[in-house]
């Protein structure tokens, strides 16, 4: 599949948004969906629908196979050792809650420390915050430097002999910083500390290899990865999924249920309570195939070029101030514009069909550090082009004019 024509694979770009072509620069929030993914959902519901796992009639068997197929596709895509290390959740947020809750229950006690960074999304902080209350643990935040980066050294400095788990983002959804997650994991493991990586922004843009990375947990948000809403993935090393207690309780995740007590099912069932997001899981298989068809290396390259181009364009615009200048930067361009509040920017850009996001992007701690209550953010996906970034710049000039 050629990257040149990739926009055509996404039906949304056939529509005018208020008489404008859509310039979609909000992929860090959620990505658009290729036709194959939408078609898969349609076909599944209209021709093949059944609940999985529970019944043994034809449709149920077929659906179960399709469902498990996606698990295998994901396993291969992220190079996990075992397919049962892939747990489907309702989102990355649930994946992180699952780990914080079960790890907290079993391993944390008063005085223990959890190490996060100042870059973290609320989804990788609030679940840990709960443990402050219930367990009396302490949360430390490794500092962001002036480039919007968190270095290995800063992580190291914050590790104490009370650190029980490290939970960090792979790629900041504000500064674009790609953290040295492999090195951090190695360091953490040398001190026997497990590592959770919030891969919401990593998974759609970077090549993943769980066995090489060696992290203990990795959370993925499928809707940011050209997949359906209402689906996330928790990758966890098998030993953790075996050792940790179950999370939600319900049908499908039990072994035997008696009035006096309950035994729990084996992997992968143990963490998939209740009827799962069957159609979404099946459709997400097509997202993976779609990415594979283009090649994640090509996607990385394309997005890197665009990011560099976008930075160039915005740097030339004297009123724009880019936020974050990390060593290794993903396809996120956060910025401010002199004299115009980010919300006003977003509204004015929207009038031209340019969709960006404004606000704290669920990273209030980072914004407090920056001394800003809000920033504007243009974030890229495989379908973006240089023209999109030119249009962004042009519309920013319009903002300036209105506010001049």
């Amino acid at each position: 599949m050629s990257l040149k024509d990739i926009k055509k694979e996404f039906p949304i770009f056939n529509n005018k948004i208020q008489n404008n072509d859509l310039v979609y620069l909000d992929s860090a929030n959620s990505s658009q969906k290729p036709q194959v993914v939408v078609d898969r959902i349609y076909d599944f519901y209209t021709k093949e629908f059944s609940n999985v796992g529970r019944s043994i009639h034809y449709l149920a068997v077929a659906a179960t196979n399709l469902y498990e197929n996606t698990r295998t596709l994901v396993q291969k895509y992220i190079n996990a050792k075992d397919k049962n290390e892939i747990v489907f959740t309702k989102g990355a947020t649930e994946a992180i809650n699952l780990v914080a809750n079960t790890f907290g229950q079993k391993y944390l006690k008063e005085g223990d420390e959890i190490l996060l960074t100042e870059l973290e999304h609320h989804s990788n902080y609030v679940p840990w915050h709960y443990l402050r209350k219930s367990k009396g643990v302490k949360i430390k935040f490794a500092e962001m430097d002036e480039n919007g980066d968190v270095t290995l050294e800063t992580i190291e400095k914050n590790i104490t002999d009370k650190t029980k788990i490290i939970a960090i983002t792979h790629l900041s959804n504000v500064t674009g910083a790609i953290l040295p997650v492999k090195e951090i994991t190695k360091l953490a493991h040398s001190k026997n500390i497990p590592v959770l990586i919030d891969g919401c922004q990593g998974a759609p843009h970077l090549k993943l290899d769980m066995q090489d990375l060696d992290c203990d947990f990795y959370a993925i948000s499928c809707h940011k990865m050209y997949g359906p809403t209402g689906l996330g993935i928790l990758y966890a090393k098998k030993k953790w999924l075996e050792e940790l207690p179950p999370y939600q309780g319900g049908g499908g995740m039990i072994r035997e249920v008696k009035k006096e007590g309950i035994t729990f099912g084996e992997l992968p069932n143990k963490y998939e309570a209740g009827t799962m997001a069957t159609a979404q899981v099946i459709a997400f298989g097509e997202s993976i195939k779609f990415i594979n068809k283009i090649g994640i290396d090509n996607i990385e390259k394309h997005e890197r070029e665009l990011t560099v181009y976008g930075e160039e364009v915005l740097r030339k615009n004297n009123s724009v101030k880019l936020i974050g200048n990390p060593k290794n930067k993903g396809s996120v361009l956060s910025f401010t514009l002199d004299g115009v509040h980010p919300h006003d920017i977003a509204t004015i850009l929207d009038e031209d069909g340019v969709a960006i996001r404004a606000g704290h992007h669920c990273c209030q701690i980072l914004h407090e550090k920056l001394g800003l209550s809000a920033t504007a953010r243009a974030s890229l996906g495989v379908y973006n082009t240089k023209e999109d970034l030119d249009q962004l710049n042009e519309s920013l000039n319009k903002c300036k004019k209105i506010f001049s």
Partner: protein, 156 residues
């Protein structure tokens, strides 16, 4: 939709140069309005005298042009207003932003109406409505008006 409607001269002016900004010394009531979605914040300070008259009013905060302009215009308007008047104007303004085509209160003078109506552009931008009302809700809190059960945004 029309950006010119949203960003009228008055708004741009008040947005850039908000009036009555900064905490003053002897306030006796205050409240914070906050929009968790975008992080905009407006803190209102009042001096309510024994006649329940707003002797002084100011605000602190940060946010978009709309929220700053709205706070600025509101503080100008509310100065020297008495308690029941404040409530009437507040409800009238919120009603206008929500649905009514015009302001009805006799308590608002024509030139003041023009200023307030300059905020009506947000009606076409549903996500910006909160920007226009954040200061007003903060004032309602500071004045201890309670929302009624049905969440209807009228202060009783």
């Amino acid at each position: 939709m029309d950006l010119k409607e949203l960003y009228q001269e008055i708004i741009l002016d008040h947005g850039k140069n908000p009036r009555n900004i900064g905490k003053f010394e002897n306030f006796n009531k205050d409240a914070e309005g906050y929009n968790p979605l975008c992080g905009d914040k407006v803190h209102i300070y009042l001096k309510l005298n024994e006649n329940k008259e707003i002797e002084d009013i100011s605000f602190e905060g940060h946010g978009c042009a709309i929220s700053m302009a709205s706070a600025s215009i509101m503080t100008e308007l509310m100065k020297d207003k008495k308690n029941p008047e404040v409530k009437e104007i507040l409800n009238d303004f919120l009603d206008m932003i929500k649905q009514s085509p015009e302001l009805k209160s006799q308590l608002i003078k024509e030139d003041e109406k023009t200023k307030l109506m300059s905020l009506s552009g947000v009606k076409q931008y549903p996500m910006r409505v909160k920007c226009a009302t954040i200061a007003w809700h903060a004032l309602a809190s500071a004045m201890n008006y309670k929302k009624d059960e049905n969440n209807s945004e009228k202060f009783i």
